[in-house]
């Protein structure tokens, strides 16, 4: 009985760990400037906790194998040294690991969320709503028009509630359903929500951030590879949550300039 269970536990442990080690399912290749450090942190954590996981499960299985079904065995054995040395050892081991991970990890975190955006960033206004994302570029005048919730009119394509009748800066704003960005240029997003909470998640960009109604949240990153990627919502926002997405198109600067021109003509 005990031996059977020990074997079962060992098999489960080895299969689980192998799939992790072989990267059968893994993060998609990173396309961001900051992602390298996240991937590094992930690898470190995976190694450390992977060893702990396998070790703990196998020791558990080993004890179950060894000490099970001993009807006529001699008197029980105490754990060598009692609890104290083990507790001290575990505290130091885990403590050191925590300290290392925190020191390195908080730097990575600070690099993404606490660093100021590059002054030459391309500024894009992002609105999340049930159940789509809309992106606004400032247009030729380089200024965003003001937004007025009471003027939002989805039927007419006025997703941001612009007031072009009275606000001249709003007239050339470019609104798109895809996030189109030039490669290797810092991007600064101003994120706000029209209705309820949403989130911005592009796995390849290694970035995720909630939209909070009533707040404008800045987020900045730089994409390093051109291509078309999927942006999805990760904060439960209602019935269409599963279908709330947009595409991120990373273009060369020339392509991006052309795209802007084409869009401006349509507005």
């Amino acid at each position: 009985m005990g031996k059977l269970f020990a074997v079962l536990l060992t098999i489960i442990t080895i299969v689980s760990a192998t799939i992790f080690i072989r990267h059968t399912w893994w993060m998609p290749p990173d396309i961001s400037m900051h992602g390298v450090r996240i991937d590094h942190q992930m690898a470190e954590t995976m190694t450390a906790s992977g060893i702990l996981f396998v070790l703990a499960q196998l020791v558990l299985a080993g004890f179950v194998w060894q000490y099970g079904d001993r009807k006529d065995a001699p008197a029980v054995k105490r754990f060598p040294g009692g609890a104290t040395p083990m507790v001290v050892f575990a505290s130091i081991l885990v403590g050191v690991e925590i300290l290392t991970l925190t020191l390195v990890g908080s730097k990575v975190w600070a690099g993404i969320y606490q660093s100021p955006p590059d002054s030459g960033s391309l500024h894009i206004d992002v609105q999340a709503e049930q159940f789509a994302f809309y992106f606004r570029y400032a247009g030729v005048d380089g200024a965003f028009g003001g937004t007025h919730p009471e003027m939002i009119d989805d039927a007419n394509g006025n997703f941001f509630g612009l007031d072009p009748a009275n606000d001249t800066t709003a007239r050339d704003d470019i609104v798109s359903g895809s996030l189109v960005i030039p490669v290797n240029q810092p991007i600064l997003l101003s994120m706000h929500a029209k209705d309820v909470g949403h989130a911005f998640y592009v796995p390849e960009l290694r970035i995720q951030q909630d939209f909070v109604p009533g707040l404008v949240i800045p987020l900045h990153f730089t994409a390093t590879h051109t291509g078309k990627y999927e942006l999805v919502c990760t904060q439960l926002c209602g019935l269409g949550h599963y279908n709330m997405k947009a595409y991120v198109e990373v273009m060369t600067p020339d392509q991006f300039a052309q795209w802007l021109k084409d869009q401006a003509a349509q507005q």
């Binding site: 998609p28 992930m42 996981f53 558990l60 754990f79 991970l101 606490q114 009533g214 999927e230 019935l239």
Partner: protein, 600 residues
């Protein structure tokens, strides 16, 4: 560590006087005996019964969810008749999936993982384990159960309102949960019923926690010092303290949510929201305020679900390893430390919520620090097995299984505790896998272990061990097949709470989703073995002796099931700790009962 008999029992109190004060007579008549009973044992069983109904409901909902995830276009015959709006022609709508998810989460977290390990087993066993006749406030105790039952009815009523149950998840983030029907079907009456149900539930659990605390502090029998208290009693006591704080905060949060819903206030709803083309008439509220209040409750809630499991496992492992628990004081210290730390970490649910990024680091550190006591506890269990004479009863198997899944779930917490990795994993299936292992499966294993362990004491009959072992083995394989793959999905960026996967990069993971669905259906079906075993053993099981497991604690010194006043008119006097296994007992056995004559 056995208690030294020479040590003055400073905490021991003369309890006989008090017991006469609260003494009540055995109940007469059906209603007093089984329904509105004041007896803690009946109330404990009532809680467990409620949890059983709730867990069956919750599992049925998860089956529907998994079926939908495996094939969103699947038409399930008959479902369209049951829910014409939610599943027209048997095909589930996205909002129906979300309402299943919301109800599954709410039912499981509140009505299973809070009621069964804490209120259920705690009510049944705590007073007996400390040698009391009953809880300190039997009337409050009865109210606690019936209020909780009412909360359950109110929640389930949401299935029967026209627009269906709420769709905003068990966390009910504002403003989605606060603005009413404009936010989607079920967000009107359904969401309101949810908030009322949870508020009522808080009242029930506060009454329960108050009872647990007062009982543990004041009703311990002679010689039952704090140091001699069984570890399960310790765990319930600590859980009661955590629960008292947590539910005291959730209740006001729910009151404010209800007011936003029905009275037009703006606690959680900011100005200028346009939902369903309607400008919402609210100003200035803060969605983050709800998140802070909710998670201040929500994280400790995880420990409310799991700490009783810690206690149960710490109590049962030594009994079936036939040797004392390693480092009992360290164990208790770690449980207290976890309870304390659980109030400093709620922000790790909100790393990406838009709160100040600096506070992410602040919340990350205590979260990681919690791994130290958690690791120590795990090592103490594993160390307890070393050199023992393991008896693989079903209860013992579930305890070892508990350790295994707790390790698995705990280690994935290591990733999520770091903001820099949470940036990638937040909102993915990795989180789902993590909390189901650590909070769902581990806590359930604790409940199973407790059931197989205390069933003889509750009903005077043994459960069937063969069925039990099959139940354990298949469940153990099943849960790993369900929840380990969720970690892989999360690593690949698959988003949780999606009713279907329409994104290209997630479509490729459908085979894995189908695998999980098959595993979930299988594991669910295995639980029918348990149900059958429960029902059969209740009526046909072999009669149980007073102490079938050769355990040391007080509940095993009285008959199975115990008489109305637990000890048949006398009060046990405690002379030993709960941990004296593997020692020559006075009667030649390998353990010393807590009530054994003092001088060895």
């Amino acid at each position: 560590m056995p208690e030294s008999p020479h040590r003055p029992a400073t905490y021991a109190r003369e309890t006989a006087e008090k017991i006469t004060e609260i003494k009540h007579l055995p109940p007469q008549g059906f209603w007093r005996k089984y329904v509105f009973s004041l007896d803690h044992k009946v109330i404990g069983k009532q809680y467990l019964g409620l949890a059983l109904v709730a867990v069956c409901t919750g599992m049925f909902l998860s089956w529907l969810m998994r079926l939908h995830l495996a094939n969103p276009d699947l038409a399930i015959p008959g479902l369209g008749k049951l829910w014409p709006n939610g599943a027209p022609g048997g095909v589930m709508t996205p909002e129906f999936y979300l309402s299943l998810m919301t109800m599954h989460g709410t039912i499981m977290v509140f009505f299973v993982l809070t009621t069964a390990p804490f209120a259920g087993f705690g009510n049944f066993a705590l007073p007996i384990q400390i040698g009391a006749e009953d809880m300190a406030f039997p009337r409050f105790n009865m109210m606690s159960f019936w209020v909780t039952f009412l909360a359950f009815l109110v929640l389930v009523a949401a299935f029967f309102v026209p627009a269906g149950p709420p769709i905003s998840g068990w966390t009910a983030y504002a403003p989605l949960s606060a603005v009413g029907k404009d936010a989607g079907p079920g967000q009107g009456t359904g969401q309101l019923l949810w908030a009322i149900s949870i508020a009522i539930f808080c009242v029930g659990q506060l009454l329960g926690a108050l009872n647990f605390i007062a009982t543990t502090l004041d009703l311990r029998t002679k010689g039952m010092t704090l140091a001699r208290m069984p570890y399960s009693t310790w765990a319930w006591f600590i859980t009661a303290v955590i629960g008292l704080v947590a539910f005291s905060v959730l209740l006001p949060a729910c009151i404010l949510l209800i007011l936003d819903h029905v009275a037009g206030t703006s606690f959680f709803i900011p100005a200028g929201l346009v939902i369903s083309d309607t400008l919402q008439p609210h100003t200035g509220g803060s969605p983050l305020l709800w998140q802070h209040l909710f998670w201040f409750f929500g994280h400790p809630e995880v420990y409310i679900a799991i700490l009783p499991g810690f206690g149960i496992v710490s109590q049962i492992l030594p009994a079936f390893a036939r040797k004392p628990l390693l480092g009992p004081r360290v164990m208790i210290g770690c449980m207290i430390a976890i309870g304390f730390l659980s109030y400093m970490v709620w922000g790790h649910h909100m790393f990406l919520s838009g709160m100040n990024p600096f506070s992410a680091t602040l919340f990350s550190v205590p979260t990681l620090i919690i791994t130290i006591p958690a690791t120590i506890i795990t090592l103490l269990w594993i160390g307890t097995l070393y050199g023992g004479k393991l008896r693989f009863t079903t209860s013992m198997l579930f305890c070892i299984g508990f350790v295994s899944v707790f390790v698995s779930g705990g280690i994935s917490g290591f990733f999520l505790a770091q903001p820099s990795i949470d940036v990638y994993l937040h909102g993915t299936y990795f989180v789902v896998g993590h909390f189901h292992f650590v909070m769902g499966v581990a806590a359930m294993f604790g409940i199973f272990a407790g059931t197989y362990y205390w069933f003889p004491k509750m009903f005077g009959r043994m459960m069937n061990e063969t069925l039990g072992k099959w139940h354990f083995a298949l469940t153990f394989i099943g849960v790993y097949c369900i929840f380990m793959p969720m970690h892989y999905l999360g690593l690949h960026g698959d988003v949780r709470r999606y009713s279907a996967f329409t994104d290209e990069y997630m479509k490729g993971d459908m085979p894995l989703h189908r695998f999980i669905t098959i595993a979930a259906l299988f594991t669910g079906a295995v639980q029918l073995l348990f149900l059958y075993n429960l029902v059969r053993s209740r009526f046909r099981g072999a009669p149980a002796s007073e102490n079938p497991w050769q355990a040391t604690t007080l509940e095993w010194t009285t008959s199975s099931p115990p008489p109305f006043d637990n000890f048949g008119g006398h009060h046990p006097v405690v002379t030993h700790g709960p941990n004296e296994y593997g020692e020559q007992g006075p009667d030649g056995s390998d353990h010393i009962m807590q009530t054994a004559p003092a001088g060895r």
